[in-house]
Symmetry: C2
Subunit: 494 residues, 2 copies
Amino acid sequence: MFKDATVAEINTIMEKAWKTFHVYRKFSLKQRAAFMRAIAAGLDNPPDELIPTVMRETNLPEARVRNEKTRTVFQLTSYADACERGEWLEARIDTANPERTPLPKPDIRKMLVPLGPVVVYGASNFPFAYSTAGGDTACALAAGCPVIVKAHPAHPETSDIVAKIILKAAAETGMPDGIFAHVHATSFEIGKALVMHPYTKAVGFTGSYTGGRALFDWANQRKEPIPVFSEMGSINPVFLLPGKLEQAAADIAKMYAGSITLGVGQFCTNPGLIIGIESAPLQEFITALGNEIRQIAPGTMLHPGIAKTYGEKKSTALAQEDVTTVAESATAPAANQGVPAIASASGKAFLNNPVLHQEVFGPYSLVIRCADEAELLKVTQHLEGQLTATLMATEQDMLGHDELVEAVKNICGRFILNSVPTGVEVCLAMHHGGPFPASTDSRFTSVGADGIKRFARPVAFQGWPDSLLPEELKNDNPLGIWRTVNNEVTKKSI
Amino acid sequence: MFKDATVAEINTIMEKAWKTFHVYRKFSLKQRAAFMRAIAAGLDNPPDELIPTVMRETNLPEARVRNEKTRTVFQLTSYADACERGEWLEARIDTANPERTPLPKPDIRKMLVPLGPVVVYGASNFPFAYSTAGGDTACALAAGCPVIVKAHPAHPETSDIVAKIILKAAAETGMPDGIFAHVHATSFEIGKALVMHPYTKAVGFTGSYTGGRALFDWANQRKEPIPVFSEMGSINPVFLLPGKLEQAAADIAKMYAGSITLGVGQFCTNPGLIIGIESAPLQEFITALGNEIRQIAPGTMLHPGIAKTYGEKKSTALAQEDVTTVAESATAPAANQGVPAIASASGKAFLNNPVLHQEVFGPYSLVIRCADEAELLKVTQHLEGQLTATLMATEQDMLGHDELVEAVKNICGRFILNSVPTGVEVCLAMHHGGPFPASTDSRFTSVGADGIKRFARPVAFQGWPDSLLPEELKNDNPLGIWRTVNNEVTKKSI
């Protein structure tokens, strides 16, 4: 239905984005925020066909689609608020001291400025929140960067409708032509052309390891490498500590059956690995989890490709030596449905088999039975970087497992206690990222307003008179933002 | 005199650093700062042989060596202060709301934690400030990372003495064994082994484009890529605007003759390119600069390799079509001395010849004569990323050249008005970095306490009881640090 963009079209789009960058970067925080709020308003009152289109393209149920739309509106408005508050600018001022010896001290003031045009690759599992008007787009616009979205081929019509909402909001709020562009592409060639274009200055991606790593590698092979933030998912280990497990094995099983199968398991924070120490309570947990899973019906997955890959990856995982299938859903699946499944293996098997460390994207989780506490620690130390890690633990468990707690902290971006990893709160304290391979740069997040900083860099102004400085750095602080002046955090004027 | 480390020795060092990481990362900000201050104290009262050794190994004059030592002591103590103040932790707290519908809001709190062992490659031109106990080491220790320094082969004895000062300070302040290691290596193989080791989690480098890019490429080819901050120098363009030039051509020439030849031009912020519009005042400037340069005697360079490369690169630059030698020092050079030189070329020549964009590390600068304002803008738009850019301009010049000012801002990390780029102030508002190829990541700095953030990443704690949270995130804010609580910047307790 949608034709792939050509390389010539990409060139035209990027040249326009580059020109626009020089206009938009000078727009005030207020103007950027107004644009973002206009997109939010448009998405909040979309054309009638939007919700049915998403449902048809993604197989997601209406409630889930509407919730995600609400979340996306909240992202846009809350990042617009953060954009205006201006803490993300990291404004720093060190005033001059002409009397200093041996050399006078110059006046130096620093703030973040935008990187340039940002290419965003839409995600299959979040048609709103991590696609066209999603978190990456909102962060880039707040930073002062034009955005080029490559629509995910699984929901091109949805993406097209949202793109039109963005373009309408741009026109309404007086944005320069070229502030936003929308590209369809199913070919590898066009995906690569976007990241390799010299006017592309940063990339945002949410999706598979293969896709995210390819973008990262291309970006680093450029004559001028550019930052790529790829959020590539993970297996989100859950650690069942003995005290807690003894208290609540059945309750934990029930909670986790829900988390594992939520949205047919199609979340990057899906708990794909549950780790405990071989014991009667662990067996009780496994049995209870199996019983829960049998009762949960298969659900239709986002698209046939994802359903096919889930089936294959699950089969591969279940076929590994020493892996036992604990339970599968008792309901027979229809076409393109993902069958919930739980498997189990020993700690030794997990340590010896890298296949068991791989994400199985869908309603699947593997329970690892460690021989003892030493093996539990060893398993933890052999885990790759993760978006999240969860401890189910009493306070006593925590105090008695300091080394384990530190080892877990060292591999994850978000560390959850006594809850589930699914559900990523949109707030400033959120961190959605994590050590490689969870993301390509553990120092940045794709959820929360700190994500704006992915697309901005500092510039220091030395010896500028007040009249010529940007508003953010002027003596009387006309924008009323927080700044660090001579090492003191303050809103005061100078 | 010093033997290269072997790959087996590197393995042993990295295994020790990895073990130490798990101890040191739990050390309080106060403990880290105490260690850094002890290093500063040791460097401030060094063994008698230190200064003569540096002078012998680097050919730097005593005053310069002593100033750099003072600067390095200041870096260590001021970053220790910043470490303790804790703003760099970016502590964020979003408190729970159990009543929120449809889902309760969890408590989420975030702060930065260290990445892991950091490998620092010593710089040839800063035997103290960007070598063994230099800025990268100070930042990594503040972040909570063990440090492995590869001594620069041009000053191995200096590096060895400083390493002993660090190890003594570590023992005095109760640091774990393995917090710091010192490696000699002249071979490519060992330099690469350090960056490729799986326990290396970040790299700091100051030096040439070739070296910095090689480290960056290796790091990205790892199974688990790691962040590399390479500061690779630049040509630091200086723009002479018409109004200012008319007022002060001779004064600017005198100021720049000093900046170009300071330290025999061996600074990454050396002004290697001066750009103006063809005019009588520009000719006056060129003549005056030539006259100044003739009077400045050649100086001995850091080591024979640098002197040789300077001679070759200068010859290559001067041999380019349409490049005219304006002046060279009238004094004949001794062995390993760098001869100050000024050349000139048209804007057109610069636009057409990439050789003229390359750094000539030493006391050399090229003056570009643009035909008109349009060509000046075009030259600016064709410049690569730069550590610094400088405008010599009146307020009227600035107001009349908005497009040029924005174009300059877009390529540099530090934007200087009516001064010289040499001299990098150590303060929080400093930015020492810049778009590629000035550095490998324009979002980070290697000077100023914000450089700590190169070596740290956020972790979000979700649903943790107050008693188990790190001190930095506890309700009553026992460390008294600035935090953002429910989007409000505050030191208040909760």
